[in-house]
Symmetry: C2
Subunit: 211 residues, 2 copies
DNA sequence: CAGTGAATGGAGCGATCGCTACAGAGACGC
DNA sequence: GCGTCTCTGTAGCGATCGCTCCATTCACTG
């Protein structure tokens, strides 16, 4: 199968190969479209190796989701540290640009996530639950970031608006990804600028209005 | 299997039963998660009946997509006729409300469409191609509608902006659906109002700016 | 009342599914 | 050199997959 002599004790490398292959396959074909046979074909490893590293298909895909998230975080901005830009509007533009670029450069996580998110069987796959968890974590990280950006106003109100903005933020990212993918003719950077300004204006409106 | 005597010559009814069942299944489990066995189980009809009405699984799902689109159109607004609201902002709000409500009331089409849109195998299913076609048609219908709403400005510019707005419109719908589905705590009507106003403001900006 | 044709019922084909059993290969400590 | 542990290779299990064959049923026509 492979010409090069495969040395042993290299489990970690094989595990990674399997995760990468599964990610590529699952991001293109979804949960049910991903088969162990496709993974073994892509990696050159036998099914027994796959099952040595992962308990079953369900766990394989759950681990793949987390793997893809880790990969995505390498490209995407971290929400913890702020860039130190004085103008809030500018900072938001910067964030959205980096996030949208991450989606374009390494789209596997977002693709796979959306596919899992849309799934709705009675027996929920672990990968889906894991995705929702990751999404919720991301959302609260974004919320904290927004609370810092919206420096003024009373804390309760600011926190509420920041929560809305975080949801809104994710919503925009989803729409952005699908829109750019499904409909030709978008100029992404230009679009993101406009959306960023709109988003910020929305936050200001929410901050000011009553209840 | 069925107690009631099933009269013959009722192919059309069976065909509908199959399409409805397939739609429910496919909207929850996606293309590969949909199996003929699940359809026969849900309808009480044998596989031979399914294959009498549809050439194969690929065609069954393609027909299901179009069926779901027809169903959706029963709930969703038609883009051809305008409601006759004087204020453009108001009219846009009305449209978006009706569209978003259609997505909530009868979400199968949108769900299935998004799932098919995300698919990306080398051998593209007919259902996916059919979805992209339907989406493109819808987009141009929305574009024409926008051209009428944006009454002023020179025609070329207006057409260009209307094209952008149509893409933007679909993008918002996608994000809206996923956002409401994935993240708890949205108040849909309120959100749609805000988005509608933002969208209209965006259109005015695009109309005014150069090139 | 025979003949026709739309549609169903049921059995089952070969292929692929997820997964397992088990022997073997090779890097280790002793 | 010898056992040990990690990981691979092969073969194949039972279940399900998409799909087909073909007899049967029944509303029709003549």
């Amino acid at each position: 199968m492979r010409k090069t002599a495969r040395r042993h004790q290299q489990g970690e490398e094989s595990r990674l190969r399997i995760l990468d292959a599964t990610l590529a396959i699952a991001a293109e074909r979804g949960y049910d479209g991903t088969s162990i046979a496709l993974v073994t074909e892509a990696t050159g490893l036998p099914p027994s190796s796959v099952y040595w590293h992962f308990r079953n298909k369900d766990e394989l895909l759950a681990e793949t989701l987390e793997h893809s998230y880790r990969r995505w975080r390498e490209t995407a901005p971290t929400w913890q540290d702020r860039v130190g830009i004085a103008d809030p509007a500018e900072e938001i533009r910067d964030r959205l640009h980096r996030a949208s670029r991450a989606i374009v450069v390494s789209p596997e996580f977002w693709r796979l996530g959306l596919m899992l998110g849309l799934l709705n069987r009675q027996q929920e796959p672990t990968a889906r639950r894991r995705y929702l968890q990751v999404r919720a974590d991301t959302r609260s990280a974004i919320q904290e970031w927004w609370e810092q950006v919206l420096a003024d106003g009373d804390p309760d109100r600011r926190s509420l608006v920041a929560g809305r903005m975080a949801r809104f933020h994710l919503m925009v990212m989803d729409g952005l990804y699908l829109g750019v993918r499904s409909d030709r003719g978008w100029r992404l950077d230009r679009l993101v600028d406009l959306i960023a300004d709109g988003v910020y204006a929305q936050a200001r409106t929410w901050l000011k209005e009553a209840a």
